[in-house]
Symmetry: C2
Subunit: 386 residues, 2 copies
């Protein structure tokens, strides 16, 4: 397999972009990415997106965005794996390069969730659950996660307040990220007094939707002129994906993420690293409970003890395993199909040492985990400073 | 790049399946495919589908179908490129194998277009056009193709009746395909008296929608025990994709398919063949005009002269370039995201010599071309008997 490096990143602010369409956001992220990479063409464009068809009445966004970004006639497709769409697109871009067929690729994540033409966004997001066996009973995507959190609290004896560090660290870190959706410091009192969305999940357990796009440019390491590099070279050391049942009730254990564990183990093995060597972890904190389960599945703490990492301060910058270092889904925002690429862009910012006040000291190895459905499709990527 | 072979195929009848859901159709095709391949597991599942989110209120079908087909925890994603989704999934499966990361993959195409939960199917299909600059004016997908056909007839002086051989050969060939949607012989009189859908396109210029699924199982050639093969080995000799503008009015020429030409040239070059060495061509006859433009773009006839191939009988079995040998989109049916995989399955049937009464004598090299949008995303694949 060809060794692959990320040579360019680009992103938009995540917000309610009332005057930017999906294609506008894609163009902004891709143009920023091309400029950072110092390129103006690409062989292939892999687009993570979940909702363009449902909310924007627009499919075929592969060719659409290839054209509007000036990359036509590059090959281009849309990839969908619910909230895991972004990392799924990244993984396909990696395989396209490692196959030797393409020499350059862009993985783009883009989502337009506000100011939409189609059905309401909550109903659209519920399409990430099983339509015939979950959604038809009226359950929303938040409600599914609420049932998982309730069961977890019951099984392991944690109180709601003990999850507070997860949104608190995300909001704190987002203050240093100009691209983040939210810039509001919170504390345990703010957290505990937030209104309930679907008990026990309250507003501050849940990540905000938003409009945004992020892109990365990848090439084989062998193609890079090493004498002439302005930036640190960031290489892809591990890439893995696995699936679990889509319907949560079909799982043997609803409080564990089997696919997260499997994809993390594969990525560790490829990268030849153990959890203790990971300097920062951009995890999928769509809900506080998902942050906890992701940390457990990836071996940072034993089952049922995830909240301990928060209470002990280990998830903060300087801790054992800093998470959501630029705000995470919770505060950077969660434009669903774009999120997986935002995570990769942020890892690159950290590994290049260009994360400003959010910089994790001496970051050399970073991991991202992107989760589609409530643990149904999980992708794990490990990046290293080369 | 690893040389890749197709060792299993599976498909469902294309029909209005009133008692089968999208997942049921997927299971039937995948189970048939696994049985044909003599396998029961796979490393990766690549699913071509356009409309599950819009019509079925179900995204995340990667993990859903991996689970329901018994392939969990295999990695799985949905790939969308409008009517080109099937071949786009096939190409990604190929790259996953040729990267060396996966050793086995299934490319599945599946579409459920009747008995749906969501919006009406014509509106959903219009999402293959540019929502902001075409669809918002009320144009349907058929109407866009009608404008292309009108312009072509005007530029090159063909009458509507001169397109008759395209639907006639498709309907004739479909009589020998038990999986086909339509089994009705037609002639030039039937064709000319069919009711107008969007002038000059009439009912018999347009392919029927339908529910269906088709799957292929691929592995590296090096992994096959050559002493122990019951079937001919079919290898993938060429795979290419290219894009054009999504909005037809943005093209320099609306009567030529630039992306079809580019992807065909790449595929020819990879396979080291010329058009005259192609024994059969499963082309994208979603509309009669698209069959004509595809034949021209792929070099089987000069620009503006496509109808000549039909009038001279060259597109029939035994002709210079037999097309739609098992019915094509026109009569086998066009379950949009599944179509590209049906084309590959049919090529394998022909190259194995298992196409029954539809068999093209001595078929050794076959080509398939799958078109998303009105020429926006075009994928070309060439298969050979090895």
């Amino acid at each position: 397999m060809r060794e692959i490096a990320i040579i360019g990143i680009g992103q938009t602010v995540i917000d309610e972009h009332w005057t930017s369409s999906l294609r506008d956001l894609a163009v902004e992220a891709v143009v920023n990415c091309l400029r950072d990479a110092g390129r103006d063409q690409v062989d292939g464009l892999y687009i993570g997106n979940m909702l363009s068809g449902i909310l924007g009445q627009q499919e075929s966004i592969g060719s659409l965005i290839a054209d509007w970004t000036g990359l036509r006639p590059a090959e281009a497709v849309k990839v969908e794996a619910a909230c895991g769409s972004g990392a799924a697109a990244f993984r396909l871009a990696i395989q396209a390069i490692s196959s030797g067929e393409l020499d350059t690729a862009i993985a783009l994540g883009v989502e337009k969730m506000t100011e939409t033409k189609g059905s309401d966004t909550t109903a659209a997001l519920a399409e990430a659950a099983d339509a015939d066996f979950e959604t038809m009973h009226g359950v929303t995507f938040v409600a599914i996660n609420a049932m998982i959190m309730q069961r977890y609290m019951h099984e392991y004896g944690w109180s709601h307040a003990q999850f507070a560090p997860f949104p608190i660290v995300a909001h704190s870190n987002a203050l240093n990220n100009p691209y983040a959706r939210l810039h509001e410091e919170i504390d345990v009192n703010t957290y505990e007094s937030a209104r309930i969305i679907s008990s026990p999940i309250n507003l501050l357990d849940a990540s905000p939707i938003g409009d945004g796009a992020a892109a990365v440019y990848i090439v084989p390491v062998e193609s890079i002129n090493k004498g002439n590099r302005a930036k640190k070279m960031i290489s892809i050391a591990g890439s893995a994906s696995a699936t679990d049942t889509l319907a949560v009730h079909d799982r043997r254990r609803v409080t564990g993420l089997a696919a997260a564990q499997k994809s993390a183990q594969s990525a560790y093995s490829q990268a030849d690293v153990a959890p203790k060597q990971i300097d920062l972890f951009e995890l999928h904190d769509a809900f506080s409970i998902m942050a906890v389960l992701s940390l457990e599945a990836c071996g940072f703490v034993e089952e049922g003890q995830g909240p301990r990492l928060g209470l002990d301060g280990e998830i903060y910058p300087g801790g054992k395993i800093p998470i959501a270092t630029l705000g995470g889904l919770k505060a950077r925002g969660h434009p669903v199909g774009a999120t997986g690429i935002y995570q990769i862009v942020e890892l690159v910012q950290q590994l290049r040492g260009c994360a400003g006040k959010a910089q994790i000291t001496d970051a050399k190895v970073g991991m991202a985990q992107n989760i589609g459905g409530s643990g149904a499709t999980v992708l794990t990527h490990i990046l290293k400073v080369k």
